[in-house]
């Protein structure tokens, strides 16, 4: 456990740019759940593998992703 993200699901528009930006392929767009605007939002699967590289947050056009990272393994 080195990193994790928290997604502002109400702000997310489900564009999927973070999904292709994640080098570890940990993100996917939720299949059925939608936010108040009707967009499917991004969720993080198997977060234990996340290394907190911030790629997803940098490419996010709406700034919905916050990244937490620790130095400990």
């Amino acid at each position: 456990m080195r990193g994790a993200i928290s997604v502002d699901t109400e702000r997310c528009k489900g564009c999927g740019l973070c999904v292709v930006a994640c080098p570890l392929h940990l993100l996917h767009i939720a299949d059925k759940s939608v936010n108040m605007k009707g967009y499917s939002y991004v969720t993080q699967e198997s977060w234990e593998a996340c290394n907190g590289c911030t790629s997803c947050a940098i490419v996010c056009p709406d700034g919905c992703i916050s990244v937490y990272r620790t130095r400990e393994a």
């Binding site: 528009k13 740019l17 490419v59 056009p61």
Partner: protein, 255 residues
């Protein structure tokens, strides 16, 4: 340890810049405008210019830019953002003055204002979002539309004999004496976003240090206008836009 517990204890390493407020952006999913807005907010925050930044917003998709970044903004008439920025900078020489314009605003109706302001060498920074289409009004052909590219007003593709050739305004302004820094960047992946951030920061520094006019073109996507998904739009941009609009610095007199 659950994810919630981890988030409570681990240090926050990346979050939306505080200058970018919580107003939901009206842009379509995956629009490049959001990334550039975020970069501008980050850079102004890092340079400590929150109280001394004046942005000039255009007419086009970014017309509501003043709703999203908490600095002073002036909304200019269509294409006239550089003229307004020129006045703002001359009245407030110690302020950061930048314009934020799309290709319809800067390269079509505002060509004269853009060229003359940059030729005078007013110390402003121009951020030029080039997505080769009129996004806000429904995907019409823009001066920057590529040859053969289909839009709602050239449904069979842009043809030279009927529509003329795409305008490379960045190359034109690089010839002018008044500009000190002219570059073309993009925001399609992490490294490109970091390069764009450095370019915009440099343009803002040039504005603060009175070195002359700077122009940063950001080759962008318009997934709605191009009728693709955001991910496909980025791929299309890499395949079709970059050969005609090659990335890199065209002019840098600040070295």
């Amino acid at each position: 340890m659950t994810r919630e517990e981890f988030i409570k204890t681990a240090p926050l390493v990346y979050k939306k810049p505080t200058l970018l407020n919580d107003t939901p952006m009206h842009y379509c999913p995956g629009c490049s405008h959001g990334v550039v807005h975020k970069l501008i907010a980050e850079i102004i925050e890092e340079m400590g210019l929150t109280e001394r930044a004046i942005g000039i917003s255009p007419v086009g998709c970014a017309v509501f830019a003043y709703n999203y970044i908490d600095i002073d903004w002036i909304e200019a008439a269509h294409g006239r953002a550089p003229a307004v920025a020129c006045a703002a900078k001359r009245l407030h020489p110690d302020h950061l003055v930048f314009t934020y314009q799309g290709d319809g605003d800067l390269a079509c109706i505002g060509t004269a204002e853009t060229i003359h302001t940059l030729n005078r060498g007013d110390d402003i920074a121009v951020i030029f979002i080039n997505n080769a289409i009129y996004g806000m009004t429904g995907g019409q052909m823009a001066p920057t539309t590529l040859m053969g590219m289909k839009t709602s007003t050239c449904p069979y593709g842009r043809q030279a004999d009927l529509h003329g050739f795409p305008l490379k305004l960045t190359e034109i302004v690089a010839q002018l004496e008044g500009t000190c820094y002219v570059t073309r960047q993009s925001v399609h992946n992490v490294s490109a976003i970091n390069k764009t951030k450095r370019a915009i920061r440099k343009a803002f520094q040039n504005s603060m240090e009175h070195r002359g006019a700077s122009l940063v073109e950001v080759v962008s996507t318009c997934s709605s206008g191009w009728k693709t998904t955001p991910v496909e739009a980025n791929q299309w941009m890499e395949e079709h836009m970059f050969p005609f609009y090659p990335l890199g610095d065209l002019k840098d007199n600040t070295k």
